[in-house]
């Protein structure tokens, strides 16, 4: 009937995963991401895929390890407390160098917190999603369309680099409805999964998927090799969006839902003669350090807008080596910053309306 359809962010992620060839989904319900699982439950049987509601988040992530080890595209989703439960499995995925896609539709915390939107899992996603030295590729959409496009990208990135890619969104993005185009991406040129445990057929040595290394020298070497790979990913896979940035003296750093609100505030600031602009990280790991460093050459100050007590602000300060002041505009606990609050912070830094 039309090229576009009207979807919730959570549904868009699920459909995009199916388009990307994901035929295994292991989930467990939690607000505000439950529609991912509900959509998968309805759709997977129709595409000869498997939807399985596991007995817990921990069971689900371990099922992901199994499907990925067999070389199949696989996904799980949850919201903040559920992602915390998956931490051990995420570390094992990294230790086994297995590709997978994981969705975090963040809600307020800590603890059980609440069901309203939040961005307080930034540290958890980018610093320490589990024990040991490892990273996830962390993608931060800011629209339902980007939830489709970045889910497609997440599967390709995961397979290309043999690591887990996370979509880090929030309850606003998961629950909001927008028109989207579900055009299927072209198949990427990806390395074959010669490492997968698909049966030797008596024709090749056994493939072993494992994160246990009996010799420390061997474990050190795998860690060093993994970080060489991470360095290449930092060089080639970093993404960001610039909005009214080229002449901006005050640079707003915001990702996800906050970046949309920040754009409203930037337009209001511009109408009052304040040159504000937006630098939106689309990859939170790898963080777009070069773009921030370049912005610091011309900007007077930075403001991060976050639904957290100030987490991404540390990456901004590191990226610009603290050459400029970085302020924080925040709401937490499920509350959402307003354009007026962001504008007030911009004006405060600009020294009042000019």
């Amino acid at each position: 009937m039309t090229e576009k359809v009207l979807m919730k962010g959570n549904e868009a992620i699920a459909e995009a995963a199916i388009q990307a060839g994901c035929r295994f989904f292991f989930g467990y319900p939690i607000t505000p991401q439950t529609e991912v699982a509900a959509y998968m439950a309805r759709r997977m049987p129709k595409v000869d895929g498997l939807y399985l509601q596991a007995e817990s988040e921990i069971a689900a992530i371990n099922m992901v390890i199994g499907a990925s080890a067999a070389g199949r595209r696989v996904m799980t989703s949850s919201s903040s407390p559920g992602i915390a439960l998956k931490s051990e499995g995420l570390s094992y995925l990294a230790g086994c160098d297995l590709p997978a896609v994981i969705i975090n539709i963040q809600r307020g915390g800590p603890g059980l917190g609440g069901i309203q939107p939040s961005q307080a899992d930034y540290f958890h996603a980018t610093r320490s999603t589990g024990h040991g030295d490892f990273h996830l590729i962390v993608l931060a959409p800011n629209s339902v369309q980007e939830m489709v496009d970045l889910t497609h990208a997440a599967f390709d990135l995961a397979d290309r680099h043999r690591m887990t890619a996370m979509i880090l969104a929030d309850g606003i993005l998961g629950q909001m409805m927008e028109p989207v185009s579900l055009s299927k991406p072209d198949a990427a040129d990806l390395p074959p999964k010669g490492w997968a445990t698909t049966g030797t057929g008596g024709a090749r040595p056994h493939n072993i998927i494992n994160s246990l290394f009996l010799q420390p020298e061997e474990l050190e070497r795998t860690n060093l090799e993994r970080y060489d790979r991470y360095a290449r990913i930092e060089t080639h896979e970093t993404r960001h969006e610039a909005f009214m940035l080229s002449d901006a003296e005050i640079v707003i750093a915001a990702y996800g839902a906050c970046s949309r609100i920040a754009k409203n505030a930037i337009l209001a600031a511009r109408s009052r003669g304040i040159r504000a602009g937006l630098l939106r990280p689309i990859t939170l790991w790898p963080f777009p350090k070069k773009a921030f460093a370049a912005a610091a050459d011309t900007a007077r100050a930075f403001v991060t807008v976050e639904m957290s007590m100030g987490q991404m602000i540390e990456d901004v300060e590191l990226a610009i080596r603290c050459r400029r002041p970085v302020a924080l505009c925040k709401r937490v606990g499920g509350m959402v910053p307003t354009p007026e609050e962001i504008l007030a912070k911009i004006e405060e830094i600009a020294g009042g309306v000019r």
Partner: protein, 226 residues
């Protein structure tokens, strides 16, 4: 749709078909000709974007909002508002009931099914459809969801509302292109298309081209919409 003979309008349908917006608009329209009017939020599925978001409009128009104390809060409890019984007990009250999506949402209707049916031709149980929602974009899928809702809620629909829309990108052509879909559903079910709901600013462009057009005001312009 003739409001004058009705006392209860129940809106059910697929998740995300636009029931809440329609419920708010129907309640406001009804209040223009009748009093008292209530809007009852019976949604036990949706955590966000509830009728409560339109509470300022409803208050201003003197439409009573019957809503769970937990709607829009941090408590994820599928609670039915305690005041629900009043819409059946108070025979002077006209009410629009906004039911949660799909069969899961319709479960909440079950306990009221007998009382809804007892209103006979003073009640309208409307099936809200939007062909631009992918899981109900095909008429056979939509009919399957309709059957699930009727079974879960122990209700029978009495009419169809064609709420074809692509959110803020909706064009008059989108609405007109949905007519064969709505007509197929009407033919397959024997139900009349009682309303074609259209965003108010698009109404002039489709007037005379769609059956029973009904203007929708959009009450939710969130901060994150640029």
């Amino acid at each position: 749709m003739d409001f004058s003979s009705l006392r209860l309008i129940v809106l059910a349908g697929h998740y995300g078909s636009g029931k809440t917006h329609l419920a708010v608009n129907l309640a406001l329209r009804w209040r223009a000709v009748r009093a008292p009017v209530a809007l009852a939020d019976l949604d036990i599925v949706n955590p966000y974007y509830r009728a409560k978001d339109a509470s300022a409009w409803l208050r201003e128009a003197d439409v009573r909002l019957i809503s769970s104390a937990f709607a829009g809060s941090n408590l994820d409890a599928p609670a039915v508002p305690p005041e629900m019984g009043r819409i059946f007990d108070d025979d002077t009250l006209c009410a629009v009931v906004d039911v949660g999506g799909d069969d899961r949402g319709a479960l909440a209707l079950g306990r009221y099914a007998g009382r809804i049916a007892a209103l006979r031709d003073r009640r309208a149980v409307l099936w809200v459809v939007n062909p631009y929602r992918p899981l109900t974009g095909r008429t056979d899928d939509a009919l399957a969801v309709m059957g699930e809702i009727e079974a879960a809620g122990n209700i029978r629909f009495t009419g169809i509302v064609n709420n074809a829309n692509l959110g803020p990108e909706t064009t008059p052509e989108n609405v007109i292109a949905s007519l064969p879909y709505a007509e197929t559903l009407a033919r397959e079910t024997g139900l009349p298309i009682v309303l074609t709901s259209v965003r108010a600013d698009l109404l002039p462009a489709v007037a005379g081209l769609v059956p029973n057009p009904f203007p929708l005001r959009i009450f939710h312009k969130p901060e994150w919409v640029l």
